[in-house]
Symmetry: C2
Subunit: 333 residues, 2 copies
C-alpha cells in the first residue's frame, strides 16, 4: 500500500540513508536531489510517523489535558494552543478528563508513555499527585489557569481583574454588595479574584457592606444560592466569581420577577460569548483565553527545545461594561 523510504531509494537508485538525509535537510548532491524528488512525487511518498518517532524516542505532539470540552474557556484556550502549535509544526492531542482529577493524573502518565514532547494542563486544582506525576514523567509541563512555584504556567490576571471589578462597582456607587464566590481550593478563581476584589473594597472609606458567599461552578447551584440570598436580604448587586455563576443569578432574578439592573445588578468574570448574547447583556471581566493558549503553546515548545522561559506569565484582562449594572445609580453615595 503506502510506499516506504526503501521504495523511494529503489526508484531513485540511491541508498535509503541518502533519502533520509534529503528528507531531513542534510546535504545532497544536485542530481541526487532531483531524482529523489521525482521518486517521492511518483510514489506519493510520505514518511511513516511511527517509525520516525520510534527512532527519535520523541514525537512532535503536545499532549493537552482539559477538564471539559464543553466550556467556552476550554474551547477558546484549545483553539489558541492548536493554532500556535500548527504554526510551530507541532500537533496537539487532547485528553478530556470530564472533571476527574484522577483521570488527569492518568493522562499525565499516559502522555509520557506515548512520548509526547510536552504536556499542557488546563488546570483547576493542583494536588500532590500532580506534582508527583510531573516529576516522575520528566516531560516538560506547562499549566494554564493556575500557578505553582515549581511549574511553568500561564495564568489570567485574576487578582487585578478582581480588583478592577471591585473598583468599577464602587465607582458606580454600589455600597451594599454580595460577592458570590467558589471554593478556595481553586486558587485562581476562589482565592485570587476574591482577594483582588477585597483589596478594592478595603480602599473605600465610607461604610460599605460586603457579604461573601460560596457556591458551585454550575448554573443551577448558583441559581439556588442566589435565590436563598435574595430571600434573605436582597442586595442591590451580585458580584459573581464566574460568568456561569452570574447566569445562575440572572435566572434566579427572573424567577423572582426582579428587573436587571434596576432591582438587581450582576457582574461576572470570564467574558464568555453568551454574556453578550443575553439581554440585558452582562458586565464582566473578560479574559483572553485564546491568547493565553497561544502563549502556552509557544512556551511549551521553548521548553521542549530546552530553551528558558519565564516561570510565570500573566495574561491580561479587560472590564467590559454592559447593561447588567446600573451606571446611573443615585443612591448610596
Amino acid at each position: 500500500m503506502s510506499s516506504t523510504i526503501s521504495d523511494i531509494a529503489k526508484i531513485a537508485g540511491v541508498a535509503k540513508s541518502t533519502v533520509s538525509r534529503y528528507l531531513n535537510g542534510g546535504s545532497v548532491g544536485d542530481k541526487t536531489r532531483k531524482k529523489i524528488e521525482q521518486a517521492i512525487k511518483e510514489a506519493k511518498y510520505t514518511p511513516n510517523p511511527f517509525a520516525q518517532s520510534l527512532k527519535a524516542k520523541k514525537t512532535n505532539i503536545i499532549g493537552t489535558i482539559v477538564p471539559r470540552l464543553d466550556s467556552y474557556a476550554s474551547s477558546q484556550t484549545l483553539i489558541g494552543i492548536d493554532e500556535q502549535l500548527k504554526r510551530l509544526n507541532y500537533q496537539m492531542l487532547i485528553s478530556n478528563t470530564s472533571q476527574s482529577l484522577e483521570r488527569e493524573i492518568e493522562s499525565i502518565y499516559s502522555f509520557a508513555n506515548q512520548k509526547m514532547a510536552g504536556i499542557i494542563l488546563l488546570a483547576t486544582e493542583i494536588t500532590e499527585q500532580h506534582i508527583e506525576a510531573f516529576e516522575a514523567v520528566k516531560v516538560p509541563v506547562l499549566l494554564i489557569g493556575q500557578e505553582h512555584p515549581e511549574i511553568h504556567s500561564v495564568i489570567h490576571d485574576d487578582f487585578h481583574a478582581g480588583y478592577a471589578m471591585g473598583h468599577y462597582i464602587l465607582e458606580k456607587g454600589y455600597r451594599d454588595i454580595a460577592y458570590l464566590g467558589v471554593t478556595e481550593r481553586d486558587i485562581a478563581v476562589g482565592v485570587k479574584r476574591k482577594h483582588g476584589f477585597k483589596k478594592a473594597m478595603e480602599e473605600v472609606q465610607q461604610d460599605c457592606h460586603v457579604h461573601y458567599y460560596e457556591t458551585e461552578f454550575n448554573i443551577p447551584a448558583a441559581q439556588a444560592k442566589a435565590r436563598e440570598i435574595i430571600h434573605d436580604h436582597q442586595p442591590p448587586i451580585f458580584v459573581c466569581a464566574t460568568d456561569n455563576i452570574a447566569l445562575g443569578v440572572l435566572k434566579a432574578a427572573y424567577a423572582e420577577g426582579l428587573s436587571i439592573p434596576k432591582d438587581l445588578a450582576v457582574t461576572g468574570f470570564g467574558g464568555y460569548e453568551v454574556t453578550e448574547i443575553i439581554h440585558p447583556s452582562l458586565t464582566t471581566a473578560k479574559f483572553f483565553y485564546q491568547e493565553a493558549g497561544e502563549t502556552a503553546a509557544k512556551h511549551i515548545v521553548e521548553l521542549v527545545n530546552e530553551r528558558s522561559v519565564e516561570k510565570l506569565t500573566i495574561s491580561k484582562f479587560k472590564i467590559i461594561e454592559r447593561e447588567s449594572v446600573d451606571i446611573n445609580l443615585k443612591h448610596g453615595i
Copy 2:
C-alpha cells in the same frame, strides 16, 4: 530511561517473545507468567506504542475532523465520541479545521498517513474532493451530520424535526410565518429542515403565508437579516434553521423594542445549552449530539473491525416548548 521489553525479558529471565506473548494474551506457563508480572511491576514497564504501531501498521486511534471547537454541537458530539471510544479501548485524535474545507481534505490524508484506524468527520458539506480523498486513503470513514450515498453516516432527523416544528407552530395558531434558513449547500440544515417544514405547511388548508429567507450561520448576520425583514413586514413569528440564527433574531427584536413572544415569536433548531439560559427561553428542536457521537464511535469501531454496519443511522430529536412562542395565541385561527 523507560524500560523496554528486553529489560523485562532479562529481569524475568525469559525471551522477549515470551514477554510479548504474555502481553498480548498468548499462552504462557504459570511460573513464567509470575516472573514476567513481577518484572513488569518492578521496572514499571509499559509498552512503547510507536513500536507497536510500527509493527501493526495500524493504531487504535480514530481521527476526528471537526470544523470548529467552539460550538455546542461540536463539543457535545466530541464528548460522545470520546467517551464511547474510551470504553472500546480506542483513542480519539481531534483535528480542528477552523471551517476550512481545504484543511478538512488535508486532515483526511494526514490521518491516513498517521495510520489512524478510522476517521470520523463532523461534516458540513461533502464535496467531490472529500469523496476522492475517502477513496484514496482506504481507511474506514464515517460522517456525522450529513449523509452521502457512498459513505456510512449518522445524521440527525432534520426532516422530521422540520416537519414537527412546522406542525407545532401551526397548531399554536400561527399563519403568517417567516422561515429564516441557510444555504442549500448544507443538505441537512439548508435543505432537509426546510423541506420537512414545508411539508407541514402544505398540509394546512386555510390560507397561510410563509416567506422563506436565507442568512448565514452566525449571530450578527442573522441579526442584520432579521432587522431587514422586521422593517419590511414584521411577521408574528420567525422559524430559524438554527439556534444561533434564532439568537440573532432575538437580538434584532430587542433592538427594535419588540417583546417576545407577544410581538414576535421565535424558534430554533439544535437545543443548545444557551437556549434555556436566556430569558425568555427559546422554543427549539433539540438534537442529541452526544448520543449521535456515541453511535458514531460504535459504528466506526465496527467498520474498523470489518463488521457490517447500516449505512445510514438517524438520530432522534425532540421539540422543546419554552417561552419564545406564544401558546395562547388568539388571532389568526
